[in-house]
Amino acid sequence: MTDAVSIRMEKLLGGELSEQQLSTTKLSSIAKLLVVDMVPASSDTEAKE
């Protein structure tokens, strides 16, 4: 697990995720950010993927 994902999830659990049932659109946008967060920052090529 990357640090970026850990940090983002920690913030989300302390905020939006615990406040109210989120819409599909909102969850989808969070999912998109998390997928990007999973890409190791050191590899440019993988980041493009």
Partner: protein, 785 residues
């Protein structure tokens, strides 16, 4: 926040404004069936449930229950209104429109909206509702008491987030592409490792692109190689290009994919393709669905549509998943083969549409393969991709395979340089796909790790919810156990508790020991009466946890199925656990009401009696007395014999309790007969003992209370003559019945002090020998005859 008054106008059975005034005390309300008690409860429910009353929800009541909310005889111009006044003098006013919708005003609107109906009101038909509810329903009912709402939201969001990540990362699509690429890679590179493939690409790059920088990444190398190879081909002679095109066409593999599809199709013969796809989606949800099922007898399987017993459902779903697992694999393999077949047909079309093979095709078009060429021209690969049937496979086998076989034969003698270039071109093409797949596999692996991480977070939150829930339900269970022990002392049903079932999220159930045997549900062994008793304990245990909220508790006819012994203990539970909370207790049980009047402390409890209901335009009315003689009076007009009989029944109950309070000694009778004594038995003894025991203060001395004894004696004589006649021969006339009722009422009033208003047994005087009213004006020599 205590309720001071509930006022209704033209609401349900109410006509002109009628108000339940509690003065912020707890209250016992007695009324015969249909006297209008529950209308006050309806009023509270209407406010708490945003204009809805549960028992009125049916097809005839209208969208907003307008047909049931208003008094049927409401005159034109009158408004249907509710007013609830609170201890701080604030008031909530609700005006109800003709369709049942409403507008509300008042400072307490918001405050009262936070009250939960389910934890404020318990009605007769709801007593066992918690027990009969599903495990999930029980969990939902208790959840607000756990204070874990936020965590529950987080867990649900995490569950949905994991699905979003799966969709966003296109995990399923990636897996299909990886499967297709794996087959091509094996064919071209055999068991070569990723590094070996990259080395081969690098070597080709050095050979074809010697003039370019060697530090480019593998994918760029492939792209450069494809450009370089294309340039080489351009430099080929026409013959070389023809050989190359035919060689490429001859290398295309259609047959093995046709065979693979046939094999997979044979396995899927009994399954309908679209349904399989739907089943796969439905089965995913079924796993979750099955966990939430419990109390239903039968259930329709969402995967196959069969109706099956719920006990077998879990096993059924498991079998369905096992059975479909093989089909899922076959289905996916077939899908992959169709994809590859379509790509290959496309490649064949592309190879044989080149100008380089024009002359070859012209020769073929004049021979036996002419139809085959036409078939190739008409081949629709995209249509084939969505629906590939046996007819299509046969067409490919009979028309296209001979074409590529011919191409292979005709390119057999291709020059070495053409063969090499063709092989290199294949290596570069598959190599490029393989390198892309390596990145895709890494991306899919990351997505899977992420999904797994989110799932683990959800499980962590659920575990935390479970731990905290266990602590709270432990506390509630202790109260439940204590209350049950009060209601059912020394009975073989014990260890009543709430518990979280294993391996199930969001579920709670009730366990107990029945004659020492552990039971997972009260529904296995408890009678209906015991279930109701348990339901009441659960409601009270949950309500007790909300003590800080100081909401009223409203119990509407909840002891209907209780026998006398168990009903009597409810007072102890209420006084022990809810002495600081307002309780509104409504009952149609005259005997219990009478008992409560005797047992409950007048300082904190009030008592009110409703008059029997007459007509909708008269509406709900209060009796001015706390006794129930108005029940009897209501029959005077039509049935004087009933009126007299009611008076006798009221006296039977009231005098039994008075005799008990004054420790009147009566001759012992065998068995149940002791409990069947009549008013005359008590009155006779009270009058006899009263000569010595019933005294009134005159100046500083006490003298026999002759007026009281006369009143008791008069009542006794009338009861013996008229009340018996009323019960047996029914020929009591109205004046007689009226006189009997008045005499009985007067007889009971003698035990209440006219000065201080307290009963004669209010306080002890001179140790244990005497009891007296508060001011000492009347007294009774306690336990002496």
């Amino acid at each position: 926040m205590r309720i001071e008054a509930i006022q209704m106008s033209w609401f349900r059975g109410a006509a002109d404004p009628v108000s339940l005034e509690s003065n912020c005390k707890s209250l016992v309300v007695y009324g015969e069936n249909a006297s209008g008690k529950s209308c006050f409860v309806d009023a509270v429910e209407y406010v708490l449930n945003n204009g809805k009353i549960g028992h009125l929800t049916h097809e005839y009541s209208g969208k907003h229950q307008g047909k049931a909310i208003h008094n049927t005889h409401k005159p034109k111009g009158q408004k249907t209104e509710l007013r609830i006044r609170f201890e701080n003098d604030s008031e909530l006013k609700v005006v109800i429109n003709s369709d049942g919708s409403f507008t509300s005003s008042g400072a307490e609107t918001i405050a009262m909206n936070t009250w939960s109906y389910g934890r404020t009101v318990l009605r007769q038909d709801e007593v066992a509702a918690f027990i009969h509810d599903t495990k999930g329903g029980k969990y939902s009912a208790l959840l607000p008491l756990f204070g874990l709402h936020q965590m529950e939201i987080a867990a649900e969001n995490l569950r949905h987030l994991a699905r979003s990540v799966e969709q966003k990362s296109k995990l399923k699509e990636a897996k299909i592409i990886l499967s297709e690429t794996k087959a091509k890679r094996t064919k071209t590179f055999g068991a070569d490792s990723d590094d070996q493939i990259l080395t081969k690409i690098e070597a080709l790059h050095s050979s074809y692109c010697a003039d370019q920088v060697a530090t480019q990444d593998a994918l760029s190398r492939c792209k450069n190689l494809q450009i370089a190879i294309a340039k080489r081909i351009e430099q080929f002679s026409a013959d070389q290009r023809r050989y190359l095109a035919l060689h490429e066409a001859g290398e295309i593999d259609l047959k093995s994919h046709v065979d693979a599809i046939r094999e997979a199709s044979a396995k899927l013969t009994d399954a309908v393709e679209p349904l399989i796809s739907e089943r796969l989606q439905v089965l995913e949800a079924t796993g979750e669905f099955v966990k939430k099922l419990e109390d239903e007898k039968d259930v329709t399987c969402p995967a196959c549509g069969r109706i099956i017993p719920v006990e077998a459902f879990q096993a059924h779903v498991k079998t369905e998943q096992e059975r479909l697992r093989e089909i899922i694999n076959t289905f996916n393999a077939r899908k992959t083969s169709i994809g590859t077949l379509c790509d290959n047909v496309k490649s064949l079309k592309s190879s044989l549409s080149k100008v380089d093979v024009k002359s070859w095709k012209e020769v073929l078009s004049k021979g036996p393969l002419a139809d085959n060429l036409t078939s190739l021209d008409h081949a629709d690969t995209e249509a084939l991709r969505t629906a590939c049937g046996e007819k299509d496979l046969k067409e490919i086998e009979e028309k296209l395979v001979p074409l590529l076989n011919t191409a292979a034969v005709d390119s057999k003698d291709a020059p070495v340089e053409v063969q090499k270039l063709s092989t290199d071109k294949e290596i570069v093409s598959v190599g490029k796909d393989t390198i892309t797949a390596i990145y895709l596999a890494a991306s899919a692996a990351r997505a899977e790790v992420l999904i797994s991480f989110i799932n683990s977070l959800e499980q962590g939150v659920r575990e935390e919810i479970r731990l905290r829930s266990e602590a709270v339900i432990g506390e509630i269970s202790q109260d439940l156990c204590d209350m049950w022990a009060i209601l059912h002392p020394d009975e073989p049903i014990e260890d009543v508790r709430l518990y979280l079932p294993e391996n199930t999220d969001k579920a709670i159930d009730i366990g107990l020991k029945f004659f020492g045997v552990k039971q997972d549900s009260p529904r296995l062994t408890l009678s209906e009466g015991y279930r109701n008793s348990l339901g009441l304990c659960i409601f009270l245990a949950m309500a007790k946890r909300e003590l800080d909220n100081d909401r009223p508790l409203i119990l509407d006819d909840v002891v209907v199925s209780f026998d006398r012994n168990h009903r009597g203990m409810i007072v102890e539970v209420l006084e022990k656990c809810f002495n600081k909370r307002q309780v509104l207790l409504l009952t149609h049980d005259r005997e219990w009401y009478t008992e409560l009047r005797q047992q409950l402390e007048g300082k904190t409890w009030g008592f009110k009696t409703l008059l029997p209901y007459e007509t909708p335009d008269i509406g709900i009315r209060w009796s001015h007395k706390t006794t129930t003689f108005d029940d009897a009076r209501s029959h005077l007009k039509e049935r004087p014999d009933s009126a007299g009989n009611d008076a006798r029944k009221i006296m039977d109950i009231e005098l039994a309790l008075i005799a008990e309070r004054l420790l009147i000694r009566l001759p012992f009778m065998r068995a149940f007969r002791n409990d069947k004594r009549m008013a005359h038995d008590f009155l006779e003894r009270l009058v006899a003992d009263g000569q010595k025991c019933f005294q009134k203060k005159v100046g500083t001395d006490y003298v026999t209370h002759s007026d009281a004894l006369d009143a008791l004696d008069t009542a006794d004589r009338l009861l013996v003559s008229w009340a018996n006649r009323a019960a047996h021969t029914f020929d009591v006339v109205r004046p007689e019945a009226r006189k009997l009722i008045d005499s009985c009422e007067k007889a009971l009033e003698v035990f209440k002090c006219t000065s201080c208003g307290k009963a004669i047994w209010f306080a002890d005087a001179k140790g244990s020998e005497w009891v007296q009213c508060q001011c000492g004006e009347i007294r009774w020599r306690y336990g002496k005859g």
